[in-house]
């Protein structure tokens, strides 16, 4: 009797403590660990009440924005870590992707062309692509592999794209070279760390990236300059060219890519080891995005030094046009141009160190240097491309850094107005195989000041009735990534073969299964 009372009191105290914290403490709005905004309390409408969305959103808000969220998550990750059985020094942990399958943008029904055999930078390792059109596009984010131990842990995002992926990216490059005669167009596809660091025994978990890159380059117009960074990165893979705890390359990796680009573009360039031209700066104890993606505590326990290089002998001025975006990545307002430092300084231990370059992605950056050679460059980039410009301040008179998601000008006008002589497409392999190309294409024809962006606008086309399960907005985002290629296939009048329909149907179905997979409780 007495024991039962004490038991109830103790358990009651624990419960009440949690209830007190969860019900009364202020709630966070942003998760440092996951690098995303947390759910907010939904606004009340009668419609949402009747449909059940309001109740669901309240529940989601309550669970998502818990006080001490990041601490709890770190704790649960620690516990999950305890369940791992480790043996051997070369232990590899695998975190499966819980996303649904994604179709990659690729031309259906087309035979893969034979790659050009000469060494013109399009043929890393001299492989010739002979695959047939039946090969299906596969999951992009095929999970995360954690290798190494203790302080040397490296997190690798597995690549699941096929050797036929990315053709539309090449087509966009071709379109640019046709639209801008007289402008040099360059195509760079940056591989991810998985291309170089996968241990042999798990090689199969990530597909061959060089095959995809080769495929993209083989579809390039002969007037487009392919920049083969795969080989040069491979040659330097022994160094710290990729961040261990983040999905990005390191500034050193970007240096090699910039070096290669400068070679292809035939512009002056200064090497890192030339005395006096570059000064390194460091953010210590950096833990990047892979911690949140993998939810593995061993990534957090292996911080790294984020070393970046500033071109100290270059005289340059950086102008930013800041974009404000909403939670759907749509631009909602455009700031006035203002001058600021190109390199932002972050404190030691900050997990935002990669935003050293320009402070992030949601802006248009224009750098004017004292190099008076008449060469003006646009870099059409994703976040990988952020690390490139800093090495090109000795090479170009002007560098315009444009993120594929955030740009509100008509590209033709912009190129003409700024007398652009070179356009570099610098994207990592995931983006090159995704739908980013649609944005680049859209820039050519969109009206000046237009704030829409097809690589995010398709998220807006939510097909709610194909979803049986009620999903939260982030899962919606996930599914829309699946569905947007369905849309893209419908809009762009490609040849629709049976395999396309099957893929679409399959991806929809598995998308549903992936999202609605929940408790098995029978209803």
């Amino acid at each position: 009797m007495k024991h039962d009372k004490i038991y109830l009191i103790l358990v009651g105290i624990v419960f009440a403590a949690f209830a007190l914290v969860f019900d009364t403490f202020p709630r966070p709005r942003y998760s440092e660990l996951e690098k995303r905004d947390l759910a907010t309390f939904p606004s009340f409408t009668l419609d949402s009440l009747w449909s059940g969305d309001y109740a669901e959103a309240v529940g989601k808000w309550f669970s998502d924005s818990q006080p001490f969220r990041d601490d709890f998550m770190a704790f649960s990750m620690m516990v999950e870590n305890w369940t791992v059985l480790r043996f051997g020094d070369d232990h590899v942990t695998y975190h499966a992707s819980t996303e649904g399958l994604a179709d990659f943008a690729e031309a259906e029904g087309m035979e893969a062309e034979e790659a050009i055999a000469e060494d013109d930078g399009r043929n890393p390792r001299g492989y010739v692509n002979k695959l047939t059109a039946d090969e299906k596009a596969k999951v992009a984010n095929a999970g995360i592999v954690i290798i190494g131990r203790d302080k040397n842990v490296r997190a690798l995002m597995c690549y699941g794209g096929s050797a036929k992926a990315g053709t539309p990216y090449a087509n966009v490059c071709n379109k640019y070279v046709q639209t801008f005669p007289g402008v040099n167009v360059y195509c760079m596809v940056v591989p991810s760390a998985a291309a170089f660091y996968m241990p042999e025994k798990v090689q199969k978990m990530s597909k061959d990236q060089s095959a995809t890159i080769r495929n993209i380059y083989s579809h390039l117009d002969s007037a487009v300059h392919a920049v083969d960074v795969y080989t040069v990165l491979g040659e330097h893979a022994g160094g710290d060219i990729y961040l261990r705890t983040d999905h990005h390359w390191s500034p050193l990796g970007a240096y090699y890519a910039a070096w290669k680009f400068a070679e292809v573009a035939e512009v002056p360039f200064h090497n890192l080891d030339e005395p006096g031209y570059y000064q390194p700066d460091t953010v210590l104890r950096f833990v990047g995005s892979m911690y949140g993606y993998s939810k593995d505590i061993s990534v957090k326990n292996a911080p790294e030094d984020f070393i970046y290089y500033k071109p100290v002998k270059a005289m340059y001025e950086t102008t930013f046009v800041q974009y404000q975006v909403d939670e759907d990545y749509q631009v909602i307002s455009v700031g006035r141009p203002h001058k600021e430092e190109f390199f932002k300084k972050f404190k030691d231990g900050s997990s935002l160190a990669y935003s050293t370059f320009m402070g992030g992605d949601t802006k248009l950056t224009q750098v004017r240097t004292d190099v008076a050679n008449g060469r003006r460059l646009i870099i059409l980039k994703d976040s990988y491309g952020n690390a490139l410009p800093g090495y090109l301040f000795y090479s170009f008179e002007e560098i315009h850094v444009i993120d594929g998601r955030y740009f509100t000008h008509n590209m033709k006008d912009y190129v003409r107005e700024h007398k652009i002589t070179d356009i570099l497409f610098a994207n990592n392999i995931f983006q090159a195989c995704g739908s980013r190309y649609r944005a680049y294409e859209f820039f050519l024809t969109m009206s000046e000041g237009c704030r829409e962006n097809p690589s995010t606008a398709f998220f807006m086309n939510r097909e709610k009735d194909t979803l049986e399960a009620k999903t939260d907005s982030m899962a919606q985002l996930r599914l829309d990534t699946l569905l947007q290629d369905k849309h893209s296939k419908q809009d762009v009048s490609d040849v629709k073969t049976d395999s396309t329909t099957n893929q679409r149907g399959e991806s929809e179905q598995t998308g549903n299964v992936a999202v609605s997979a929940d408790s098995v409780v029978v209803q």
Partner: protein, 495 residues
Amino acid sequence: MVFSDLFFLFVFLPLFFGSYMLASYVDKKVLSSYKCRNTTLVVFSLLFYAWGEPVYVFLMLGLVLMNFYVGRVIDSDYAHRKLALNIGVILNVLALGVFKYASLTATTLTMLGIPMPDPRIALPIGISFYIFQSISYLIDVYKKESPAQRRFMDLLLYISMFPQLIAGPIVRYGTIAEEIHNRKVSVRDMADGAFRFIYGLGKKVIIANQMSIVAEQFLVGGFESCTTTGAWIGILAYSLQVYFDFSGYSDMAIGIGRCLGFHFNENFRHPYCCNSITDFWHRWHISLGSFFRDYVYIPLGGNRRHQWFNILATWFLTGFWHGASWNFACWGLYFGIILLFEKYTLMKNVGKPLPTPDRKGRPRYRKVMDFIPSPLLHLYAMGLVTLGRGLFYFTDFAQMKEFFVKAFGGAEELHSYVSITAITDHFWLWVAAILFCMPVREWCYGRLVRVAGEGSLVTRNTVFLSRTVLSVIIIVLSVALLIGETNNPFIYTRF
């Protein structure tokens, strides 16, 4: 709303228990009845249901009303009682048919050549459970096992009680009819109920949800790169997930019920320790099995007439109840056939009757299966159960076929690194899951009693300490894991 949800645990439950205790006080001191308490329970139950189904809550209310009137008619109008029963049961089944099976009917008919538009009716939560409860109520009233409930609110209480509304167990009216107006809750009841609830929560959040991650890894999506080991690991993980998920929910339901003074029957008795399929179904989802036995199998004739047909029909329906898809019916039939097979093989009586008859005075015999070593039987039973899970999981027959092909040698590789990491990366989870399939608590308690004596101070203190420590660990872990669940892994648009 579901039990394994932070909002339920830390908003709904505290509010409910607070209100209930207040109502309890009012009841005892002022009204000396159960009115306040029962009203509170009904109100909160309706809120609980309406939270997930703001529109369909009215459907449920309407059906309860219908059942209420039919029950009254059965009791009062002797001449028309059979008719009333039939109408009531038919209406219930019709409601279930429309809201659950209309889509399947339409698509099947279309497939067979009769084009029918798919009505795409959303499935109301818990409808399978509360309709079956209603049917059992009507039949029990008809058979005079309980008098019909004279107050609508009380019938509503029975059917909509939130502990068992969404996911069972399927509580028979007779089980709790008395307790609606007569229940005592001792401190022991509350402690046991609370522990049961926490234990169930742990099963669901710590084991089932984590196992589902492993299962999803192998069973969702295409099987092109699936290895043989991968397929089996996937289906084993799923079997564990299903058990801990479902039995965890039942535990939580029984726990809360106990705290309120209601005693539900057990729904699971360590089913994965079975040694035959017959045994399995006496241990798994007991409330469902007994429902179908009492309300379908026996009325059809039981083992007196065309037993084979009765068994197959009952199991076809049992399977079908689980979901509106043909694979579930196949799954049911699969077990029906095996059960039939076992009746004529494993369960066959051997030799002369044993000296002691059973509780009902009937002679007992040894059975064929008594001569087969237990581990072998266990392997046989669990093998069949696991294969059955393959039938259960895939609603799409093409995928199911692919899965079975891979599982039985059609894969390119026997195993891959992914399948090995699926075990090593969650090793202690697997150990815990397999361990807790077995009656470890009973074993531990048995050992303790043997060493320290029943009721001794050592025994009581050990039990108290272990319960408390386990409860706190489960609560803390579950909260952390539940928070982590709203994490959404990388979305590569943010590159």
